[in-house]
Point group: C2
Chain length 248, copies 2
């Protein structure tokens, strides 16, 4: 008998909510669909929910463009506001969609939570305690003259574990982690190799390999962890199986 997730942290992949190879383009339908699913889950019992989204064709593209312009992989702190500006436009669209579906979504700017890669989740936990749905997102954080990109994957795992949620779910633009033949891998254990994908355009936070690494930390921290497509999201939140379960 499946046990529903009493509380959850859900990552909306950048490739899911944006057209990843078309700059600054939101996938409005996918975003609205994800919002409806999350609202249905949340309404079904006053559950605690954290939502995090990725950079997609906003953040990743802006980083790529800046690297080209400046001719350097390491960007200066002065470049952070331009990346933040692109991400804020996407984040505003995401919270609007979540609110449109009826969720009391409360957005937190990443560089306010994080100092370099060290993030502090107190404001998100406070929101949970107040019955709100805190929203965070991957973004550039100035760090000792340079900048770091704090990924949405990091944020969803760390915030989820600190809040003690039952489930941490990564949604991506595929039904799960796929093997060489394009079939969904039902379960990925600690020793299992991560299939190398073609590599999404403009991914500056390590792609699938880094995501699985974060997913494994989430599982090691005690959460039930899935990587799934939008089609599997509600099923997983309700305690069913869909996509790829990450186990330790």
């Amino acid at each position: 008998m499946p046990r529903p997730c009493g509380s959850a942290a859900v990552k909306l992949g950048g490739s899911l909510v944006t057209v990843k190879d078309r700059p600054y383009t939101v996938r409005g339908e996918a975003l609205a669909g994800a919002s409806r699913i999350l609202a249905a889950y949340w309404r079904s019992g006053g559950r605690r929910l954290i939502v995090v989204h990725g950079g997609g064709s906003f953040g990743h593209y802006e980083v790529d463009t800046l690297r080209g312009e400046l001719g350097a992989r390491d960007l200066p702190a002065a470049a952070a506001p331009r990346i933040q500006g692109a991400m804020l436009r996407l984040a505003a669209r995401v919270v609007e969609a979540l609110r449109g579906a009826g969720l009391p979504a409360s957005l937190h700017t990443t560089h306010t939570i994080c100092e370099c890669r060290e993030c502090r989740y107190t404001p998100l936990l406070r929101d949970l305690g107040e019955g709100l749905v805190p929203v965070a997102y991957g973004d550039a954080v100035p760090c000792r003259g340079g900048l770091v990109i704090v990924s949405g994957d990091q944020l969803v795992v760390e915030a989820g574990l600190e809040a003690g949620v039952d489930c941490i779910v990564f949604t991506i633009d595929a039904p799960g982690v796929l093997d060489g033949e394009g079939r969904v891998i039902g379960e990925l254990g600690p020793g299992d190799p991560v299939p190398r994908l073609g590599g999404a355009a403009h991914d500056v936070t390590g792609g699938l390999e880094a995501k699985v690494e974060w997913a494994r930390r989430a599982a090691a921290g005690g959460a039930r962890v899935y990587i799934t497509g939008l089609g599997g999201l509600l099923k997983v939140l309700e305690g069913g199986r869909a996509g790829t379960r990450i186990v330790v």
Copy 2:
């Protein structure tokens, strides 16, 4: 010989950057003008600058509307996201204008900085150290089941004093604090009464009286403090006199 402000915290009044009695309406020209002035000041010497803005016809109006809908003055925490949503739209416009003028503006969500009325300015100070221009704004913060409105006046004074800036300047939609005959009061001392204004529409943070109270705290904290119109802003930042100086 006037001494320029080596560093400054500037509040852009809600009545200056929005049409305060017309819901959700930005005064684009005033906002662009203010951004150009701040950029000119900032460029003239790598100075440290904090920018804060008010709620105007976004935040104040939303609070008024919610109070009407709910039939209560005290709003529940669940109402915070709607106010935050309105304020985020205004804040995004402000940072876009500041960036358009060439400032590396970095926006911080209020409820991420503040727990009830206690705010933590570490992320803004970090930005200053990185050569960026941190931006904050008045907004709703959930607080023990209810919510509080943290004003931009509070934020600009506390952040400015914590950063140890030379000058804290409040810009408003008038050339300064006016007396009964509409003349600018050049200096407002500790014992001087604050003129009662007609009262701006939709002001939920105490109007001029509260502003002068915060300005006095700023002056007591050691900053040079002015309340002035947009026309006086650059003059004051360059060490001249314009509008109303608040002294203790």
